[in-house]
Assembly symmetry: C2
Homo-oligomer: 548 residues x 2
C-alpha cells in the first residue's frame, strides 16, 4: 500500500490484522473442534478397535507432545510407513502440531526408494508398521548411519508378521506424551504440513511440499465438491499415503465423521465394512471399482445405504459405472495430481444429463471436468506461448492450474519447482482438450502420447475402445518404435477370468471403432504392472514394447 493510498483510502487506516481477526488456516483446527463438540462420536473404527473423537484428539496431543520431547519441531520431517490404520490418521494431526512435516511413505516402494526418500526428506523420526519391517530394515541398512531416523514401531494388533525394529513402539511413544499438550496452530499458514513424493515413473521421485493453507482449503474443497453431510462414515480404500489420502484425513475430521480403517483393499473386507459400519463415502482408483464390480455375487453382502464413491484419473468405463450403480453406488469423477493435493478438478454433474441417452452420458462422464471451487483456475494451453487452446474439444494443449490447492514446490529442487510454475501456472504435464462447456478432457500424459506418421494418438482414447470389448478386463496402450511410422500403438491387455480373445479379435474390434492409424499394431496379453496406487506403469510397458 502506497503512502498516497493510505491517505486517501480510509479502509487502510487502523484496520490491521490482529490475533482476534486473523488466524492461520490449518486443518489442525478441525480435530480440536470435533473433539470438543462431538467428543463421544466415533472417530475411528479399526477391526474391533473403536475410538471417539475425544480419545483420538488425546492420542494426537500425546503424539505431538512425545515427538516434541524427542526433538521434533519446526521443519522436522517425520516419516510414516503404514497402511490405512489409525496411527497414520493421527499422524496427520500430531506431526504438524509440533511444526513438523508429515512424510507418508508409499508402502509398496522397495528399500532403495525408501532409503532415497528418507535421506532426501531428512526424516528424523520414522513410524513404521511391523508388516513392513523387511523393507524398512533393508532401507535403513542402505542409509549412512548418521542419516538414519529414530525408528518407532507401530505394533498394530491387526498387522501380520514382521519384526519390531526400533527402540520403542508407537503406544510407548504416546505414553511419553502429555495428553493435555497445548494444541496450537502454525505461526504462518504457509508453513509446510506434509511432504509427498511423486510416484516417479522415471528418475528419482520428487518431494512435493504441502502448506497448511492448501491442506485446509482442499479439506473444505472436498466438502463443497461432494456436498458432504455431517458425520459421514468414510471407508479408507484410498491409500492415506497417496496425496495425504486426497486430504480426507482432514475432510472427514472437519465434518466429525468416522474413519473406517482398512489394512488391505480386498473385496471381502470392503463389503464387510459397507454392510457392518454403514459406510456412506469412499474413494479409490478405478481398480477399486473394478474389484467391487467383479466380486462374485456370492461373495458380496447387501448394502442398504447409498455409497458415494470418488474416483480419479482415467474415466471409469461405462460398464464399471453401470455396475456400481446397480450396487447402489454413485460415482463422482475427479482428477488431480500430487502437486495439487489430489483431486482439484471434478466432473461436476448436471442433473439434467441424467435424461440423456446413455451414450451421451458416458461422453460427459469421460470428461475430467472443471476446477474445484477452491482451486482458482484451470486452463488448457500451449505451453510455449501460454495461449489457451480454443474450446473446441479437439485442440490439444497442456493442462495447467493455479490457486490455493497447489504445492509450495519440490523440496530441494528449485529447478523442477521453477519449471513446474513457469508463467504463473502449475504445469501438470497432462495433455488434454477443453470442450465448449469448459469441461476439460485428458488425452494423455505429455510423455505417453503416441506420434504416428506425424499424427497424435491419444492412448487414453485407444484404451477406452479396447475396454469396450466384452472379454477385456484391463488395457494399456503405449508407443512402440516403428521404422516407417516413427511410433505405432502397442496394446497390453488383461482378459477377464475365463474370457477368451485373440490379438486379431482385439485389433478387429478397434478397427470398428477407431480411425485406422490409431488401431494397435501389436497386442500383448499379460498382467499389467502397477504402482501402489493402482496406476499402470507405462514406462515398464514402453520398455517391453521396445524389446518386442
Amino acid at each position: 500500500m502506497s503512502t498516497h493510498e493510505a491517505h486517501t483510502n480510509p479502509y487502510e487506516i487502523d484496520l490491521d490484522r490482529n490475533p482476534a481477526n486473523y488466524v492461520p488456516l490449518s486443518p489442525l483446527t478441525f480435530v480440536r473442534r470435533s473433539a470438543e463438540v462431538f467428543p463421544d462420536y466415533t472417530a475411528v473404527i479399526h477391526g474391533p478397535i473403536r475410538r471417539t473423537w475425544a480419545e483420538t484428539f488425546t492420542r494426537c496431543r500425546r503424539l505431538a507432545s512425545a515427538l516434541e520431547k524427542r526433538g521434533v519441531g519446526l521443519g522436522t520431517t517425520v516419516a510414516v510407513m503404514a497402511p490405512n490404520i489409525p496411527e497414520l490418521m493421527e499422524a496427520h494431526f500430531g506431526v504438524p502440531a509440533t511444526g513438523g512435516v508429515l512424510n507418508a511413505l508409499n508402502v509398496r516402494l522397495d528399500a532403495a526408494a525408501i532409503a532415497f526418500i528418507l535421506e532426501h526428506g531428512e526424516a528424523k523420526v520414522l513410524l513404521t508398521d511391523r508388516e513392513f519391517s523387511p523393507t524398512i530394515g533393508k532401507a535403513l541398512a542402505l542409509m549412512p548411519q548418521d542419516k538414519r531416523p529414530m525408528v518407532v514401531d507401530i505394533d498394530d494388533p491387526l498387522g501380520q508378521g514382521g519384526d519390531l525394529l526400533g527402540a520403542l513402539t508407537y503406544e510407548q511413544l504416546l505414553e511419553e506424551g502429555d495428553p493435555a499438550y497445548a494444541w496450537t496452530l502454525p505461526d504462518d499458514e504457509w508453513r509446510a504440513i506434509s511432504l509427498n513424493y511423486t510416484s516417479g515413473t522415471t528418475g528419482n521421485p520428487k518431494g512435493v511440499v504441502y502448506h497448511h493453507r492448501g491442506a485446509y482449503m482442499n479439506a473444505v474443497g472436498n466438502v463443497l465438491t461432494w456436498a458432504l453431510p455431517h458425520h459421514p462414515v468414510y471407508l479408507w480404500t484410498l491409500p492415506m499415503f497417496h496425496c495425504n489420502g486426497w486430504c480426507f484425513p482432514w475432510t472427514i475430521t472437519a465434518m466429525a465423521g468416522t474413519h473406517v480403517c482398512l489394512r488391505r483393499v480386498e473385496a471381502k473386507a470392503i463389503y464387510d465394512a459397507l454392510a457392518d459400519h454403514g459406510v456412506t463415502h469412499m474413494c479409490g482408483a478405478p481398480i477399486v471399482m473394478n474389484l467391487l464390480v467383479n466380486t462374485p455375487e456370492e461373495a458380496r453382502r447387501p448394502v442398504p445405504q447409498t455409497v458415494k464413491m470418488m474416483t480419479a484419473g482415467a474415466a471409469p468405463p461405462a460398464a464399471v459405472i453401470g455396475g456400481l450403480q446397480r450396487l447402489g453406488m454413485e460415482v463422482t469423477h475427479t482428477y488431480g495430481l500430487t502437486e495439487v493435493y489430489g483431486p482439484a478438478v471434478v466432473c461436476a454433474w448436471h442433473e439434467e444429463w441424467n435424461d440423456l441417452p446413455l451414450e451421451q452420458q458416458a461422453v460427459y462422464k469421460s470428461r475430467q471436468g472443471v476446477a474445484y471451487a477452491v482451486q482458482e483456475a484451470i486452463m488448457v494451453a500451449n505451453p510455449e506461448t501460454m495461449e489457451p487452446v480454443p474450446r473446441d474439444g479437439v485442440t490439444i494443449g497442456e493442462v495447467m492450474m493455479r490457486g490455493n490447492i497447489t504445492m509450495r514446490g519440490y523440496l530441494k529442487n528449485p529447478t523442477a519447482t521453477e519449471e513446474a510454475f513457469t508463467g504463473g501456472w502449475y504445469h501438470t504435464g497432462d495433455l488434454g482438450v477443453i470442450h465448449e462447456n469448459g469441461y476439460i478432457e485428458l488425452k494423455d500424459r505429455s510423455k505417453d502420447i503416441i506420434i504416428s506418421g506425424g499424427e497424435n494418438i491419444s492412448t487414453i482414447e485407444v484404451e477406452g475402445v479396447i475396454y469396450g470389448h466384452p472379454a477385456v478386463m484391463e488395457a494399456a496402450v503405449v508407443a512402440r518404435p516403428d521404422e516407417r511410422w516413427g511410433e505405432t500403438p502397442c496394446a497390453f491387455v488383461t482378459l477377464k477370468p475365463g474370457a477368451e480373445a485373440t490379438a486379431e479379435d482385439i485389433i478387429a474390434y478397434c478397427r470398428e471403432h477407431l480411425a485406422h492409424f490409431k488401431v494397435p499394431k501389436t497386442v500383448v496379453f499379460c498382467e499389467l504392472p502397477k504402482t501402489s496406487t493402482g496406476k499402470i506403469q507405462k514406462f515398464v510397458l514402453r520398455d517391453q514394447a521396445r524389446a518386442l
Copy 2:
C-alpha cells in the same frame, strides 16, 4: 523467519508463494465459477423475473465495469438502499470486483441516520430502490452538497410508489458497462469488501469493515454448518443488508443455488415461494418463525419439501420450534453479531438428543452453542482478567471470539476498534455462561442485565418463562429503577390475538417458575418496539420503565 532457520529448515528455501500456488481468498470467485459450470441454472427468481447464472454474472460484470467508468475503484464506498432484490445480490459481487466496498443500508433507518452513514462511509455512489425515495430524498437534503453521492435509481418493476431521484437508473448504468469486463480478485485478501453499520441502539452507528478473506470463510462456514447440498433454493427472508445477509449472497452462489428474492417478509409471499419454487433453505429472526407459525391455517399453502431454517439470537421458544416442525421445517439455531459476519456460533445438534424428553431437548436448544468451524475460538471470560469462567453453566462472563470471521474493525474509529479487540479477542458485549459440554448460553447483553439487591438477573431467563404462558405472544424484560433494590425486572408483554391475561396472571405464573427476586414487579401490555431486523429495542423500553 530468521536467517538461522533458513539455514536449517529446508522447507523455507525456494518454496515461496507465487501466482500459481497462492490466490487471495475472495467470494468474488464463486459467481464466476457458478456461471462457468452451471450457466443455465437459475440464479435468481424475483416475481416473474428469472435469470440464469450466466446472465447474472454478465450483469455483475456490467455493474463493475460501469461503476469503474464512473470512478469507483479501490476503497470507494458504494451504498445500496434496497430490499431483498436481485440488484442488491448483484452488488455483492459487482461492487467489490472494482475494489470498491459495498455498504448495504438498513432500509428502515430514518433520513438522519442514512445521512450520517452516507457521510461517515464516504459513499461516492448510491444505488437506491424507488420505494425508499422519500427517506433518501430527505437524507440527501441533509447532507452537504459536496458530500452527496451520485444517485442511481433501482426501478424495480415489483416496487411500488416513490420517485426517481438520480440521473440514471440501474439498468441504464448496466448498459454503460462492458459485459466482458475482466473479473479479477483483489490484490490482497485483507482488502475491505463491505461496510455494515451496527444497528446502534445507543449513539451513532459504527461502521463494521469486512474483509474478502472473512467473507469467503463465512460463505464456506455456512456450507459446513448447514451441510448444504448442491443447488439449494434459498428464500430471502433475512434482510440482505443485515451483515450482508449473513454472507448468504456468497454462500448460495458458491453452491450454484437459486436466490429467491422477496421485497417484503409477509406470510402469503413466503408460503407462495415455499410452495411454488421448492425452497429448501431460509434464514430469519425469530419474528419470521412467529409469522409462519401464527399464519392462520387457511392462509397457508402445503409445502411438500423439508425446509431448513436458520435463526439467530434469542433461542426460539419450544412452542415455536414445535410449530415449525409440524410445518415440515427444521430449525438451526445460531448466534452472531455484525462484527463476526453474522452467524459465528451454532447450536450444533447431536442426533442422540432427539431421544431425550422434550424438556431436556428444549434446554439444549436454548443454548447458542459452539464456534463455527471457520471461527477459531469462543470463550466466556472475565473481561478484566481475561480468565475463562468455569464450565459450570452458572458463572457469567463476557462472550468473546477470535478467528477468521471477525471484522477488520470499525471504520474511522480506532478507539472503538481497540476496545473491541482488547487482549486479542473480540469482545461481544454479550454476557453468558459456558456449560460442561462447551456450549455457551447467552444470559444478557452487558447493558441489559438487571442487578437487583446485588443479584444478577438475566432478562433472557425471565423472558423465557413469560413466553411459556399460553396467552403470551412476545415479551421483553428490562430493569426498572427501584429505591430499595436498585433495580427490579419490568416486563413488557404482547398477548396473542384474542387471548387475555392480567398483570397479576403473568406475575403469578412467573412465581411458579422463577426465584422470587427474579419475578417482574411490573407488567405492561403493549406492542414491542423493534429494529428493522426484528430485534426488540430495549433502550426504548428502559426509558418507558424509568418513566412509569
